[in-house]
């Protein structure tokens, strides 16, 4: 017995309820317990993933009712890959912030780690669940933790960012519920596999309207262009590691949801080109907005939005190569963007404005951090021999195989823009004289460890992509095979 997927939800929830009690016994437990939980979950996830890659997906039933009746969790190669990635990143964020938040008092620390853990749990839930309303609940868990984490710092702007996020999040949940109810009113079920089996019977108009509402709602979380007003603010005002968690975990979960709806649940053939259109617009607008940013984290935020656009474009090809490329992109983006957020927040640690100017000449004071930031920057624009290159190559190959020459041209042109703004920052770090008199802050041991791990992974994937491609191929195959998914879920007795 390797364990079951429900533990991914149950254990953190149990721990979350326990933590306030444990904190009364020994305050340090508040910091330690989330890490222990995440470590356990990571081991579990890796075990399960290994099992799943060999033996096929695990479908977990809740409350003893077989799928069309009860809620179920699906740990397939696809969702398992994302879950493992999320928990791994979550663990890194925990290690990073374990001492990052050292100076914070007991109560905020308690809340920070609680919210962080629930953010990860919510995202994992979104990925694992096989029920559309359950997904709504997990999205709400994720969003509320995200609101709290965004407003964690006491500066005047964090509340503003968080409030915008709340506004958009509320609108998102409105549309999500509308869409869920349209589906329910027609098919009488909330189970994804069951819906997928029956969706062809549905009135096409209703189907399209509900799909549009779904995409709108999830697009707000996944930062699709006209819906992503909250994103740069939230990224910029949240604590540095949380920015990494947003880029690496929350957005991935939302993109997963969109993809699940597009690939598995709905059978609209034209929804793929729709994904390409919105993804492309997102990519272009976000990357061009990023080039003129004055603040480091905002720039990273826009870049992250752009990358998500690219992921959607890759998913929009609708081919196996496209899915593979998108998954590769998601993996790379999660790792690289986390590294950028981690190292970037030390580069502007003591400044109040967090302007890009503050990083001038930081390489003299923080050599390792600067080097890692530079590696991250080179990797994310897709320069070989770093990890980003392989994903970019696979995206372009997939585009060529789908005969999307225009998409290729646009993606490459946008890449040039991306290159320019990352290079500017790297140049500032290495070749400018320090202007501001803010004192550089040496990274703690934990933070350095996390950054080095991420840098090593970037180099590893860059030099030896086979380390991950096999798994990604299996994951993409598992997403593409809709019939198998339905069969796996509904054949349970």
């Amino acid at each position: 017995m390797v364990g079951t997927p429900v533990l991914f939800i149950a254990i953190p929830l149990l721990a979350a309820f326990l933590i306030p009690l444990l904190g009364m016994i020994w305050k340090e437990l508040v910091r330690i317990v989330p890490g222990l939980v995440l470590t356990y979950l990571l081991i579990l996830a890796i075990n399960l993933l290994n099992h799943v890659l060999v033996h096929g997906p695990i479908v977990e039933v809740i409350a003893g009712w077989v799928p069309p009746i009860g809620i179920n969790l699906v740990f397939s190669a696809f969702s398992g890959f994302l879950v493992t990635l999320m928990i791994f990143l979550g663990l890194l964020v925990w290690i990073y912030s374990y001492r990052f938040k050292r100076n914070v008092e007991y109560e905020p620390a308690l809340k920070y780690f609680l919210m962080l853990m629930m953010l990860i749990t919510g995202s994992v839930g979104i990925v694992l669940t096989g029920d559309i309303f359950n997904m709504f609940v997990f999205i709400e868990i994720t969003s509320i933790s995200a609101y709290g984490l965004t407003a964690f710092y006491k500066g005047r702007n964090s509340a503003e960012a968080s409030f915008k996020y709340v506004m958009m999040g509320s609108i998102a949940s409105t549309f999500l519920l509308l869409a869920i109810m349209i589906i329910y009113s027609q098919l009488g079920t909330l189970n994804m596999a069951d819906i997928a089996r029956k969706i062809h019977l549905m009135n096409p108009t209703l189907k399209i309207v509900s799909y549009i509402f779904f995409v709108t709602a999830l697009g707000i979380e996944a930062e699709i262009f006209p819906l992503n007003g909250w994103a740069p603010d939230a990224y910029a005002e949240a604590p540095g590691p949380v920015g990494a968690a947003f880029a690496g975990i929350v957005v991935k979960a939302a993109v997963y949801a969109i993809i699940r709806y597009t690939y598995t649940i709905f059978d609209l053939s034209s929804s793929f080109s729709f994904l390409i259109i919105i993804g492309m617009i997102t990519l272009i607008i976000a990357e061009t907005a990023a080039i003129r940013q004055e603040k480091l984290k905002r720039m990273l935020a826009y870049s992250s939005i752009g990358q998500m656009g690219l992921v959607l474009v890759a998913f929009g090809f609708g081919t196996k190569e496209g899915v593979f490329a998108a998954l590769f992109l998601m993996l790379n983006h999660a790792i690289i963007k986390s590294l950028l957020f981690f190292s970037g927040s030390y580069l502007v640690y003591n400044s109040t404005e967090k302007n890009i100017k503050e990083v001038n000449g930081m390489s003299k004071f923080l050599p390792v951090t600067s080097l890692l930031f530079a590696i991250g920057a080179f990797a994310i624009v897709g320069l070989p021999p770093f990890a980003g290159f392989w994903s970019k190559l696979s995206v372009l190959t997939a585009a060529a195989d789908s005969n999307m020459i225009l998409i290729m041209v646009l993606v490459l042109m946008v890449s040039v823009v991306e290159l320019v703004y990352y290079l500017r920052v790297v140049n500032r770090i290495y070749f400018f004289k320090k202007e501001a008199d803010t004192k550089p802050h040496k990274p703690t041991f934990n933070a350095l460890f996390v950054m080095l791990v991420l840098g090593a992974i970037i180099l590893l994937i860059g030099f030896y992509p086979d380390a991950v491609t096999g798994m990604l191929h299996k994951a993409s195959a598992s997403l593409m095979d809709k019939g198998q998914y339905i069969h796996n879920v509904l054949s349970l007795k």
């Binding site: 309303f133 609940v137 709400e140 969003s143 509320i144 609101y147 709290g148 407003a151 005047r156 702007n157 509340a159 503003e160 960012a161 968080s162 409030f163 915008k164 709340v166 506004m167 999040g169 509320s170 609108i171 949940s173 409105t174 519920l177 509308l178 869920i180 109810m181 329910y184 009113s185 909330l190 740069p232 603010d233 910029a236 005002e237 907005a289 003129r292 940013q293």
Partner: protein, 127 residues
């Protein structure tokens, strides 16, 4: 006469719910006060919840409770209204309350920092 009127009433339920939602949306997008925006969000929620419950309603149905009386008299399960939307709304109401509470806390903090609730003056973060 009655039946036609009631036929219109059918539409009126949905119409009211959607109208309330739209009024809420209008308030969210036009009203300048942060508190007014939060109020509008809760108005949207009200409309939405009404809409969802309405979907589960069947004419002449009974509440989905197998009370002793029901078991004695009817025993016809198909006469019961759909309990699933009700269960969902129950969840949605509670979640909506949580979000509203968070939003209000943020409003309080914004007011503490800015001394105003006018959303046009609270935009330090842009571009």
């Amino acid at each position: 006469m009655d039946s036609t009127l009631f036929h219109y009433l059918d539409y009126a339920v949905y119409g009211t719910a959607i109208l309330v939602m739209l009024i809420g949306f209008y308030g969210t997008m036009v009203k300048k006060s942060l508190l007014k925006i939060v109020i509008s969000l809760s108005v949207i929620d009200s409309g939405l919840n009404l809409l969802i419950v309405t979907i589960g309603y069947y004419k002449g149905g009974t509440a989905p409770i197998f009370s002793p009386g029901f078991l004695k008299n009817f025993k016809d399960v198909s006469k019961m209204v759909d309990p699933i939307p009700q269960a969902l709304v129950l969840t949605a109401i509670v979640i909506g309350f949580g979000v509203t509470a968070v939003a209000l806390a943020l409003v309080i903090r914004l007011y503490r920092h800015h001394g105003t609730l006018n959303i046009d003056e609270i935009k330090n973060l842009k571009w």
